[in-house]
Symmetry: C2
């Protein structure tokens, strides 16, 4: 019998406690599957006294993460503290340098220092596994790194933040405002007291940076990502999307283009019949477009103690079975420094919602500026205004702006921005235009 794999666990929050519980529950199954047991031997966390609903007395308590990381007894350091810098960073680096494999759920750490840590893991011939950092229990890291290792990827996109998808789902189903849904999400514990990190797209961006690196063999580069959150989305956008056969999702999208790797996070119109459009509530999903085959979509729980623990334990299982894969699927020396495809050069269709000033010549002005940028329109929808059956340009009504919705054929970000600037300048629209990019499958 091979000796058990000995774990040092740093961080005993919801996820840490769930990992301990899952390892207990699945002890014999894991031992059978992996050919050896997996045992927590030592732990550390901010507070030793906090009640966590698990018996910690059987584990050796180590004073700090860094000491645990280099502890003689452990084979693997499991980092569940979070945070892109110390103590997580130095503890993980210390563990790798000491020849310990590392399992982490820390997306911020990987987005920031992933390449350096991967190089360190490689140098010391140990594993650095992070299935839990993206998409919770969805085995997306393994799928990109191993399951589709024989494919060239064209595009990868996903719903990577459950809070945003929960808010958009409720906004759509109940015609509620963003603010009302956010409040509810906070009350239910789906959103943090400071929700900006989630709703402004930064959480999605960190995860996207990791996925893009895995998919395209490029160095993780969160700075290259264009980021836009969901706070500007209004119920009328969701209604219009439904009318036009779309649904709005906050997507992280990475695409291989001739100009480099385009990485962007923004509210996106996706065709309603796609797998990703069907994903509602806090659920996450990732779609992978590989050359020559139809898209593959993975859907599942993206957060929560049990889902995250599932990913951590499968990473431990790989280490127990003796598997060591290059952290980003390629030797770090082979990871390319990806060119950032500038957002202005993004090509695609656009949804534009304008509040058109109600006077003769408004439509002509809008049409002229779009034409000047060579933007063709796929649909124009003039929504009913107030309670009158059809808004139109009724000369008897007060000059209240009427919502106009435009769907463009493929154009560039630059062209759209220019056209809208010109339209705004001419004073034919009120307020800021709403702009949502369309992602076709």
């Amino acid at each position: 019998m091979v000796a058990p794999l000995k774990i040092g666990l740093a961080g005993l929050g919801t996820v840490g406690a769930s990992v301990v519980r899952l390892l207990d529950q699945e002890r014999s199954v894991l031992a059978a599957r992996c050919g050896r047991g997996i045992e927590v031997v030592a732990v550390t966390a901010r507070s030793r006294k906090k009640s966590r609903g698990i018996d910690l007395s059987r584990f050796r308590w180590v004073a700090d993460a860094r000491s645990l990381a280099t502890d003689r007894e452990i084979d693997v350091f499991v980092e569940l503290m979070g945070g892109e810098d110390d103590p997580a960073k130095s503890a993980v680096a210390a563990a790798l340098a000491a020849g310990k494999s590392v399992v982490t759920a820390n997306k911020a750490l990987l987005a920031r220092h992933g390449v350096a840590l991967a190089a360190l893991a490689e140098k010391n011939r140990v594993a650095l596994n992070f299935e839990a950092a993206v998409g919770g229990a969805i085995p997306i890291v393994k799928t990109l790194r191993e399951g589709l290792a024989g494919n060239s990827f064209v595009r990868i996109y996903g719903i990577l933040n459950g809070t945003c998808n929960y808010i958009l789902t409720r906004m759509e189903r109940e015609r509620l405002s963003f603010a009302a849904c956010l409040k509810d999400a906070q009350r239910l514990g789906y959103a943090e007291a400071d929700p900006a990190f989630d709703v402004e797209g930064h959480d999605t961006a960190q995860k996207l940076a990791i996925l893009a690196s895995l998919a395209f063999g490029a160095k993780v580069n969160p700075e290259a990502i264009y980021v836009e959150g969901i706070s500007s989305i209004a119920p009328e956008d969701l209604d219009a999307a439904a009318d036009l056969g779309y649904r709005v999702k906050l997507l992280g999208v990475a695409v291989k283009t001739k100009k480099g790797i385009e990485q962007r996070v923004h509210p996106t119109m996706v065709p309603r019949e796609t797998a990703i459009a069907q994903v509602m509530g806090v659920t996450n999903a990732v779609t992978i477009d590989a050359e020559g085959i139809n898209p593959i979509t993975l859907v599942g729980p993206g957060a929560g103690g049990a889902a995250t623990a599932s990913a951590v334990v499968s990473d431990l299982g790989d280490i127990a079975r003796g598997v060591r894969t290059a952290p980003f699927g390629w030797p770090t020396a082979r990871l390319s420094t990806s060119r950032k495809a500038p957002m202005q050069r993004h090509e695609g269709g656009y949804y534009i919602r304008l509040a058109a000033v109600d006077r003769p010549g408004t439509f002509a002005a809008i049409a002229k500026h779009l034409a000047a940028q060579k933007i063709s329109l796929e649909s124009i929808v003039q929504h009913r205004r107030d309670d009158r059956p059809h808004g139109g340009e009724d000369p008897r009504s007060p000059a209240k702006p009427a919502p106009v919705i435009l769907i463009t054929y493929a154009t560039t970000e630059d062209a759209v921005r220019r056209a809208l600037k010109a339209i705004q300048k001419q004073g034919v629209i009120a307020g800021k235009p709403q702009l949502i990019r369309i992602e076709k499958n």
Copy 2:
């Protein structure tokens, strides 16, 4: 530089040719990802002369599969001939016995001889990989074997046959009969000239047997599967499903019950909002219910040369990287001989469509026999008959049977069968009752 992994490839149909092409296309990427090249060195197939659109002259031609399987030069034998018996079986066994790893797409072989071959692989310390045998490019084998290795599974179910899903999709969208859609599927090459293997559920059953083994650590046992195909499904069933918030899919379902592992293949009513219900056309999908976490669903192309080749090459990538996992995720000695949960004891909701004879007392008789079996009804729908606004039991109309649709609460297969038998015996319904099992999420 490590020497390349040398492949002997038996079977040069659509999949074999796609594997050769993919290995060519991704040569440098694979070498970088795996740390060594992957090279086909020798091949065999039924006909040497057939044109396949690939250059075979660079490969050594070996007279037969068995000789290739034990060829000195090769490290891995790739079996793409198909068929559950010889020559595939003896060639795979010979390769394993000779210490060669094997990659196969042969679901029939694995369903029939999977355990014996896995034991042989284990004994000779080589890999037996078969990602391509189930779900095409969807990495479902790896996900069950490794990606969710830390989880206990409760249930696994999926759309595993593209032909059936294509037929059901067209029947639903165009209100066509099964026969008309089958004909079209044959014309388009989605269905074989002899379609029984697909439409009667046998293809799904072979794949389910493999998935059930992976999920529950049990010996593959296709005999334990209850199998029912889609040929009895009528457009009115699909309409009724839509009215009631369901969609009909041919599912393979494996569930852990107190009575053993229940394995069944049959048309199934799935709630319309589930991920699996959204899967249309030839696409495949598998949903995994693991203890303590929300379901995970994998969706993607389930057949075709490129999709299958993608799975074969990822299996080769694992071998090139030196990974050897127990073929069914557990040492074969630990695979349990699963008790077969008898179908009569299946518990769940049922959709029942009856052609009720139009005379007083019909409903009373139906209700009485259901009550006698303690079956409670969730919904009763009496569809409009002919062109009259409401069928009802109009005394002026001829005594033409009226369709009645019943949705039961959870009951047992046995109770439903008994009740229907009694109802039929009493002569209050015409023809055979339609029965579709409901799978809740």
